[in-house]
Symmetry: C2
Subunit: 466 residues, 2 copies
């Protein structure tokens, strides 16, 4: 039980908190980084990394299954324990890298404990320590929600925090929730031979708009059943969980709950921090500077619900840490072009601004079901939509699900961020034969929609040479 | 035997010629498209498409072989005839698409025959037809060179024009030439179980600079032997060809000659066209407008040796066709950022301008042998170098060999073409966990080299969260 005075106290040693503390310290602030576990980031321990590892294994099995199309006679068998052992081995190494970075912190920076506000600028931990801070960064992350009907099923329930601890793959797995986590893990498990069915009350897949989301849904449905717009009921049965709705009934060994990851706000006693709340009781955070209303409290990373993605958490930590160190001199920033990727196959992404009632955009489309290079690689299928401002022709957004979509998503985010218009996008170099040629078709469609002409140095044939 | 008068005669119905004729006609010119075969483009028949198809099959076998690393027990067997049957089936479909486009030409446009100049603006074909044209576009492409020592080996010799006609894979194949075609086909064949060794008189791999080329060489050498800087001799033996140099001796069932594709200039009688030649006897072509010196003759596509790549041939056809139609009003254009991709695994690319004695560039590097996402997918290995102008900090070039490099190459070409500087490149959004994060490391290294600071909204941790 000790008392600490500091300039900036950071609550939570995840991606955003680590980044915030480092930035604040770099700006000359005396800092504290407070966490009950110092276990590593959500990303490394239960998020991006282990899910990508499981997906990599599922890709390997899918490749074996698909080799016949190329004239390769192949057979494969999934060794569940070996798959999961590799996932954990690499995951532990990545998480270990994060933990090792804690050892490199100056020794008076880390403070073990679970902090809560007792007054503006005053914190107390569950270890009995007290902290007075000129500014506080809240970076406590998020945790999976378990909706009421599934709360009492104990070990039968999996979340992204427990699924990677399985010693073997289940024979069957129901999935509740068609968000990014739900569809990624559903497809990966299905490819690894697990019988999978997915249920969602809504009709949105991985946060995608209806058109591209529908294309993704139809492609995923080739590998596992998706039950959209249903309200399933669950009951425990001898061998697991039974899911029922309107005549449908299925039993699963396990049930993965992927119904969102709400912010970890409980126990912070934020109401004592001096900040204001909206009518739903949520903290009011300014996304441009991450300040909570007008008090010296900043929220960074998943906890603020602005952009719950690792690369954003890293940026947000830096923004919050900088502003906490310099409070009350707050800097604001235009946030980078929004980029959200779902690592299904094909991968899906949303970039920048999509059409809505609040804007006037023109859309170009390209269908990938007959795209040249994709067919060469036996993975045709998908769609990209690119959106431009109707008045300026400036590219503002894209949504897509297509082969190697994660790279195409970066391309879109980068050129959108650099502010080019549809005509300039169409006249970028597109190598042959590539996935990018399909993207060029979308730019052409967009230019036609905004009545741009063909540049004199460009042949209008598509694909080139035809 | 007839005489034709036209505004623009295009010799050669490949990618560049098709594009040139279409553009010239679109600009109001009366056109002729002259070709002895109208068989389809180099790309579709013997180039990009069949090689990508063979590579796709080799990827499939490599995936089967590599599945064990992920916990998948797999075995595969290459069915050579089936592999090659798929290559030809898709190849024929793609080439058929090109041929179908000939049927859609206005009926007075195509002229079958092999044309040669008889005087400035005057052509004659081997069918006895004569043509008077106000301007001529030469787009006769290129063909594989067979160096002297290999000329008399008949069927034992393969080129990119004959290899895809094989009914079965050979047991063994020597490869002469470490250019893009040589290394792509060598690796593909090796992955398909063919014993492959590659020989080159020089030390350059796929046209790459020494540093990244060396990384590519070492990765390829895990799959087949590369003998660089050697002058092999060949002799026909009972079961094929024996290759020897300084104590090395190996026998192969077939020998792939990939020693360059010189322009198809023989028989054109270009000296009668009025154009000038350099001291080596090559036509002098202006790359900005594709005109040959000051006469109404333009050269487009592989034949001019400027940028022998499909997407460039398509652009060049448009440029040459436009200028031929409007002669003597010639337009010049800044060519797009140079982009050359070799579809090895990892794929390799050269983008924009590389360091040389003629410029003063700063270079940033990133090594991919321990890159996070690449390790997740068991394909770590490779390198990227990014180059900026020392004075302006502007990004001007990149060379790379790394997983999914073909997409990264597009990213580099696009942002270089859009003229951003190293600091702006580093501050683009980089999703996690992706290959692109490795590229970000290269931008960071570049910024450090040009002493750029860390932007206040950016955390300097690498990988993010550490």
């Amino acid at each position: 039980m000790a008392h600490y005075d500091c300039d900036v106290a950071v609550i939570g040693a995840g991606t955003a908190g680590i980044s915030a503390e480092r930035k604040a310290r770099g700006e000359g602030a005396k800092t504290l980084l407070i966490d009950p576990y110092f276990n590593g980031t959500t990303c490394a321990t239960v998020g991006c990394m282990p899910s990508k590892l499981l997906i990599a294994a599922s890709d390997a099995m899918a490749a074996v299954r698909g080799a016949g199309a190329f004239g390769i006679k192949a057979e494969g068998k999934v060794d569940g324990p070996a798959v999961l052992e590799r996932v954990r081995r690499f995951r532990d190494e990545f998480a270990g890298g994060v933990r090792a970075s804690f050892d490199r912190l100056p020794e008076d920076v880390p403070l073990r404990g679970r902090a809560r506000f007792t007054a503006p600028g005053e914190l107390e931990t569950d270890q009995g320590d007290t902290v007075s801070a000129k500014a506080v960064v809240v970076a406590t992350g998020s945790a999976p929600a378990i909706p009421g009907p599934f709360k009492d099923f104990g070990d039968l329930i999996l979340t992204n925090e427990s699924i990677f601890e399985l010693k073997d793959l289940p024979d069957s797995m129901g999935v509740i929730g068609a968000g990014a986590i739900g569809v990624e893990l559903a497809q990966a498990m299905a490819r690894l031979g697990v019988r999978v069915e997915l249920y969602d009350m809504g009709h949105t897949i991985a946060g995608m708009p209806a058109e591209t989301g529908g294309v993704l849904r139809d492609l995923l449905a080739l590998e596992f059943n998706l039950h959209m717009g249903v309200t399933p009921e669950a009951e425990q049965v001898k061998k697991g969980v039974r899911i029922t709705y309107e005549g449908h009934e299925a039993e699963f060994e396990r049930l993965l709950i992927a119904a969102g990851r709400p912010p970890n706000l409980d126990g912070l006693d934020l109401e004592k921090s001096g900040m204001a709340f909206d009518e739903d009781g949520r903290p009011v955070v300014n996304p441009d500077c991450l300040q909570c209303t007008d008090v010296p409290v900043f929220m960074a990373g998943d906890v603020n619900g602005v952009r719950p993605l690792l690369h954003e958490a890293s940026d947000e930590g830096a923004i919050a840490g900088y502003n906490a160190a310099h409070f009350p001199d707050i800097r604001r920033t235009d946030r980078k072009t929004a980029l959200a990727i779902t690592f299904t196959r094909p991968s899906a992404a949303i970039v920048g601004i999509l059409p809505s009632n609040d804007n006037d955009l023109v859309t170009g489309r390209a269908d990938f079901s007959n795209q040249g290079r994709s067919r060469v690689e036996d993975r045709a299928g998908g769609m990209i939509r690119v959106h431009a401002d109707r008045k300026t022709g400036k590219l503002v957004g894209a949504d897509l699900c297509l082969p190697d979509g994660e790279h195409i998503a970066h391309q879109m985010a980068w050129i959108i961020g650099l502010g080019i218009d549809a005509g300039a996008a169409k006249d970028l170099p597109f190598y042959h034969p590539t996935i990018e040629e399909g993207v060029k078709s979308a730019f052409r469609d967009l230019c036609a929609a905004i009545e741009a002409g063909v540049h004199w140095t460009t042949d209008e044939g598509s694909p080139p040479g035809v």
